[in-house]
């Protein structure tokens, strides 16, 4: 019998689930020359190796830390791209082409996730088994499916601003955007952007604590990300009206 698929939670975008503990380094023999392989290529003959489940930090040989040297990450990304990309293997065996394709997609997924500070934090939290309520896709989907607004708790500090903004947006929807409404929307937008900045600072402070081994920083990060997600939705609504 046939029925629509139901998506399963939880899941981790792009990567397999791992324990918080670093997996011990796995040693394999190169399929081509039998030498002990490095992470991505054989240290001896340079051939690409099959993709193995790995977490994104290990993929780059980086420690699992949130304060990350972004320039070094970019440098590693370019260096690995030059060696792993399918362009380099276009004349290799079909097997190596397939591995190159899988490795490169893993590389790209890892780079995309780690280079952005927010997705990096979310990813690290996920590795720790923490699902962010606001980020949960299934909650969004279910809310949409039943035609209701997704329930979001308004952060206390934003209560007043959110209330006024919703009035303003309602007004704009009814009566159009005149110069007065536009001006108010723009000043609200700027104020919210400033808050975004402040949250970024808060997040970075939490990173430092986490990197130093302070487990309580996790709660701070979850809190910041949830508030940030709410703020982002407000900003999106403003952009929609301003066009």
């Amino acid at each position: 019998m046939m029925s629509e698929a139901i998506k399963q939670e939880p899941k981790i975008a792009g990567g397999p689930q791992l324990n918080v503990l670093q997996a011990p380094p796995v040693q394999h023999r190169c399929w081509s020359c039998g030498d002990m392989r490095a992470e991505h290529f054989c240290g001896e003959c340079g051939h690409v190796q099959p993709a193995l489940p790995t977490d994104f930090f290990s993929f780059f040989g980086l420690p699992r830390l949130l304060e990350l040297d972004e320039e070094r990450l970019e440098g590693e990304f370019y260096k690995l791209s030059r060696k792993l990309h399918p362009d380099v293997y276009s004349r290799a065996s079909e097997r190596e082409q397939q591995w190159s394709l899988e490795k490169t997609s893993q590389l790209n997924d890892a780079y995309r996730t780690l280079k952005d500070p927010i997705s990096r934090t979310e990813y690290l939290l996920m590795l720790q088994g923490i699902q962010l309520e606001e980020q949960s896709k299934i909650a969004t989907e279910q809310a949409r499916a039943f035609g209701v607004e997704k329930k979001q708790t308004v952060p206390a500090e934003l209560l007043e601003e959110a209330f006024e903004l919703n009035m303003l947006l309602e007004e704009a929807k009814q009566g159009g955007v005149d110069d007065d409404v536009r001006g108010q929307l723009i000043s609200t937008r700027d104020a919210l952007n400033a808050r975004m900045e402040a949250m970024q600072q808060e997040l970075e402070a939490a990173w430092r604590r986490w990197d130093e081994g302070d487990a309580s920083a996790t709660d701070v990060m979850v809190d910041v990300l949830n508030r940030r997600s709410y703020l982002r939705n407000l900003l999106r609504d403003i952009h929609e009206v301003l066009g």
């Binding site: 139901i6 362009d87 997609s105 499916a145």
Partner: protein, 644 residues
Amino acid sequence: MADDKIVGIDLGTTNSLVAYMAVGPSLAHPDAPGKGVFIIPGEDGSPLVPSVVAVDDDGHMLVGNGARKVLLTRSERAIYSVKRLMGRGVEDVREELKLFPFHLAEDLAPGEVLRIHLGERTYTPPEISAQILRQLKRNAERFFGTPVKQAVITVPAYFNDAQRQATKDAGRIAGLDVLRLVNEPTAASLAYGLDKKQNGTIAVYDFGGGTFDVSILKLRDGIFEVIATNGDTHLGGDDIDNLLIAVAAKDIAGDLKIDIRQSAEAVQRLRQAMIDAKIALSSTDETKIDVELPGGAHYLRTITRAMLEEMIAAIVERTLGPCRQALRDAGVTAAQVDEVVLVGGSTRIPLVRRKVEELFGRKAHTELNPDEVVALGAAVQANILGGGSEETKDMLLLDVTPLSLGIEALGGVTAKIIHRNSTIPASATEHFTTGVEGQTSVAIHVLQGEREMAKDCRSLARFDLKGIPPMPAGLPRIEVRFLIDANGILHVSAREQRSGKEAEIDVQPSYGLTDEQVENMILDSFDHAETDLLERQLVESRNEAETILTALAKAHGGAAWRKLSFGEQRTAEKQEAALRQAMTGTDHNAIRRAIDELNQGTMRLAELMMDDAVGGALRGKNMDETGMEDGPAAPHPIGKAEFE
């Protein structure tokens, strides 16, 4: 094989080109200018092959300039701009096709691959495109004297999965192994990058015959990293032409009370006139049009550049929104863009240049011919895939997927799993389960696009995951892996994790051909290609034979002929008779051999004629007296002028 040549092909809406870059500096082709990248000309010497396919009354396929002539006289037997139909369904193109002279097959169902009437049968867009590709392949084979089997083909950056797959199918039908599909603006940046090895952010604005793309790239030590891309696959010079035709048709209906749409040929004459006027107005301020209408009356008008600009302003404006979106997605401001590159024929329009330079606040690069730069870039990528050379050894292209990939979730919403502007190859893994006890299959609907609701996105395919072991609802755990490869094409694999069984995937591409259909088309075209090729070779060899025989007949009895020994004269006459004998047969190889022998045997005759011609010119005699005109050594018409 290491010796196999990989060509770069720009399969354009209006024109198509094939280019090549020599592998390794020592092998650089002598004809190749600069870095060894060059456009391979067609038989007529032109670098551009118009993307027009026609069928003549004998059922022969014509491609390029020959087909364009048919379009003007018997438009129902020709197809142009077929690229606009690639990977599209009947419901997508019904409105659009009102402006084109072709007719769709009558029995098309929504979601089915289009078929278009051409001559006595119908063809799918990939089959029509394959005709163009085959012509380019032939041009390259004639140029190199060896078979060409591998190619890199460019596609608009904003092409979706179905449009890309259709292009790849076209390559296969044409007998080409398509090693890579490269995005057109990215290819252009590669061509420019050969000369300028520098770091920075560049914007490529590619406004072609039928599509518009904009890409923002970061250049770093030979790595070309696309940060964001945007565009419109149905916005190009064609739209400008159609607008001008519509304005003129209304004008004609009002002034002359003639409905030009009654005559397809007249519409094509009008179309050509408006295109000519549009092109002229890129270099002059004013131009005249004169179109003969059905019934003999003429439509006469003077158009100024200002009038044209007013008419097309809205179309040009439509390209700026995607530019702004691409900048936003890339996280850069217009001022942070270091270089702007213009690509595509429509960027010759002064208004387009002005608007782009206004938006980015800087002068745009136009050093490379906007019609050729994409093909040249494709050849550079072909060179890289072939192992690279001194010029390309540090070059690597990192492109992105232009559209988000999603799956239809509960309530008909789109759940995005790979976001637009993700570097490719990119992948995502999703887990699914069953909703009913004992359920053995689940259906997954894959979408592409940015909209929230599934119905507003492009349907890519429906997959049935079959063979799930019967289990209580919710227990099976099916892992589905979505992988977008370096061509921007999606691959899907699935596995039921509890049983470890590979789930079967039954793919129903929404607007694509099945593998079996493509295979049949390859076989079908192969049969024809064989006969086509033999026929063409025979015609070509006979033409060549005629040329040499005519020249020999002229020389016969002239001063140079009389200087030959008796033996030399007899040999030439014997060889001439042998060639005439060979021409009565159908073996083009036999004709070629006879031509070669006759050429050898008359070499001294040609030399003597050349001497006489030079001597004659010095003494002030005219060419006819020397018997030199169209002599075997100088069949080219401009050869004569050199002596005057």
